[in-house]
Amino acid sequence: MQLVFDAEQEELRRSVRRFCDNEMTSETVRALMDTRDAHDPARWKRMAEQLGLQGLVIPEEHGGSGATFVELAVVQEEFGRAIFPGPFLSTLFATCAILDAGDEEAGKDLLPGIADGSTIATVAATEPDGRWDLAATSTTARADGQGFAREFALHGTKAYVPDGALADLLLVVARSDAGLSLFAVDPTAAGVTRTAVNTLDQTRPMATVELDGAAGRLVGTDGGAGASMARTLEKVAVLIALEQVGGAQRALDMAVEYAKQRRQFGRFIGSFQAIKHKAANVMLRVESARAAAYYAAWAVAGGSDEVPAVASLAKAYCSDAYFFAATENIQIHGGIGFTWEHDAHLHLKRAEASKLWLGDPTFHRAKLADAVGV
């Protein structure tokens, strides 16, 4: 392993950066933020067709490019930098869930649509109690007795489902007689009611999904989602951490840029030690967060047994780092940084939302302590 990107990965970064610079300007983000789904289908299509981002880690036989998690790391960092709205993370979440379930049949059916951009997918894991531990799942799955051993009827309520109102495919975690299992659900089918909710971070829509006998097709083995989803959640934690690194770096860049051009009292404010030291402290955290998130990405790519520990480590550290960078960015900007028109608050809200989603730093440090045998 080498903890640097190779030339191809750097080229990927440049492409994604260009794409974001062109297609995900502040104006675009703000326009999307005001819509229910924060999603632009045409752009989603270009992402798939021109850059192949949705299929990056999908195996070639299922229409993807079979790249490693490290390529994904590059994309996530850039998307985090741009505060990219849209269902990319949700769709990755679903992709990982399908891949981790190890279900060839389901992969063959579901992944090509994701890879070519025609399917937006998400995972409905959490429930209204907001617990991130899947052991708390109360949604039930009953074999429906219609002759298909893999068809189940689902009952229960899922909450905080990212892009839940938009997705074409829901992967639902539910409890069957055999234990926690994963089901593919068509959200337009009978027995599924989706309600979009307003979100703190408007670039990341969520929905509540009620399942009242909805048909669910088993993905993976019956009772196997406890183990497979644990792996998936580790990967998503790393994907969030990477996004946070990108966001934190952008917040630092904004602060430094402003401090270099803003004059007060006859000096650039960046020449005051209070500002300098703030920025230096942010840089220390951002660089440290980057080391953690990169290492975790490489660990996932290498199938290392360190993943459970380093995924939680990265999610905890990068959450705190991004929040710190986002708040210091506002402080360095002063009044202007507190306005709606300035982009600083987009980072504050993204930082806070991504810090809390799937478990806050305290939650993940507890997991880390368990994982390393403290």
């Binding site: 959490t126 907001g130 991130w132 909450a159 905080y160 909710v197 307003n198 979100t199 703190l200 971070d201 408007q202 969520m206 402003y258 803003r262 007060q264 009292f265 006859g266 000096r267 404010i269 005051f272 030690q273 209070a274 500002i275 708040t327 506002i330 402080q331 360095i332 900007h333 002063g334 009044g335 202007i336 940084g337 507190f338 306005t339 709606w340 028109e341 600083a344 608050h345 504050l348 809200k349 806070e352 939302a353 809390l356 989603w357 806050d360 305290t362």
Partner: protein, 429 residues
Amino acid sequence: MELDLGPEAEAFREEVRGWISTAAPTGLSQMVDWTSTPLTGGDRSAFEKAERSDEYAQWTQRVLDDGWICPTWPERFGGRGLGPVENAIYSEELVRANLPRIRRGFGEGMVGPSIMVHGTEEQQRHFLPRIISGEDVYCQGFSEPGHGSDLAGVTTRGVVDGDEIVITGQKIWTSGFYRANMIFIICRTDPDAPKHKGLSYVLTPFTDNNIDARPVKQLTGSAEFGEEFIDGARAPLFNVIGGLNNGWRVAMTTLGHERGGSATTGYLKYQRQFTELVELAREVGRDEDPAVRDRLAWCHSHVEIMRFSGIRLMSQLAQGREPGPEASINKLFWSEYEQAVGELAADLLGAAALVRPDGEGYRTSKWQNIFLASRAGTIFSGTSEIQRNIIAERALGLPREPQAPAPARAAAATATPAAPAAAAVGGAR
């Protein structure tokens, strides 16, 4: 323990309590938590509704009729001549009764005192009663987009035209702009003079006067501040306080007047909030978690220390001592405390913090609003960096930074006592 400020103060407290019990309209104290303003996490629409109520209007009239308006102003200017202890007791009793203190805003706290010091007798006779009656409601025209805290950098121009002054430029961070009919503007009337000379302090009609005021939307989703595009606003020369090109001194007087009393009563709001925070911890089933209990105890300690510090300050004022650096310490303390509370509340809510209430616009729940609004506390009325400079230089006597070489040097001699660290805004002063 009750604070005992001596018989005179206690007699005054009795007087205030007695008056309140007869004067307050029924129902006003139940309408809203009057200590929690929209700027510090209160629900703005509830506030506005309460302020439009009949009870509020009655209360305002009664306060005016009974002479409890602008109570710290000398009696000869229409006030009640309250000293700092009496003023604090007055605030305290209103907070205890959960009644709004009817203030004349910037007119009461900043413009009036400046007119008393720098205005002519004619100006005093003309402007002060209009502040007391509520006829003139002021907003502040100090900050500009290019310089939040750096008052000497003002670029808004004022040109004398006959017996009028004509003002052109841009102002920002104007709190209360939506209810003002007057604005006190610092503008540059002598562009050739050194930076902090050549400024004038002009009381300018705010409506129908070529001033385009627009709300500045904040990250919370609401708009507490305004931004003004001033294109040839006119005011009589009579409205220039302290004389042409002498605005710097007047502005210094204005900035020297901080609102009194909040250091002694500010904790009451946080006490209520703390109770709600404990309630929240119970609701989400986290009140037995030792780490949560530790953070709650930390919060409680901070609220209590605000209470203790208030009692200490009151005791000192009662002994006739001058207040020290309390204002800056107090502001740092509560603004950083509020951020900690907002973060704790969000942590307790967890997933629930991610979802906002239904409704149009960027509506937020109480805790979400506290979380978001708390980021402003360390910026407005002088950033935390400026407060630390003030403490270091005024209270600890540490040396000022070496002045920048000319020509920047002139600019460094500014309103705030020291070179500030961040682009601060002075809007909420």
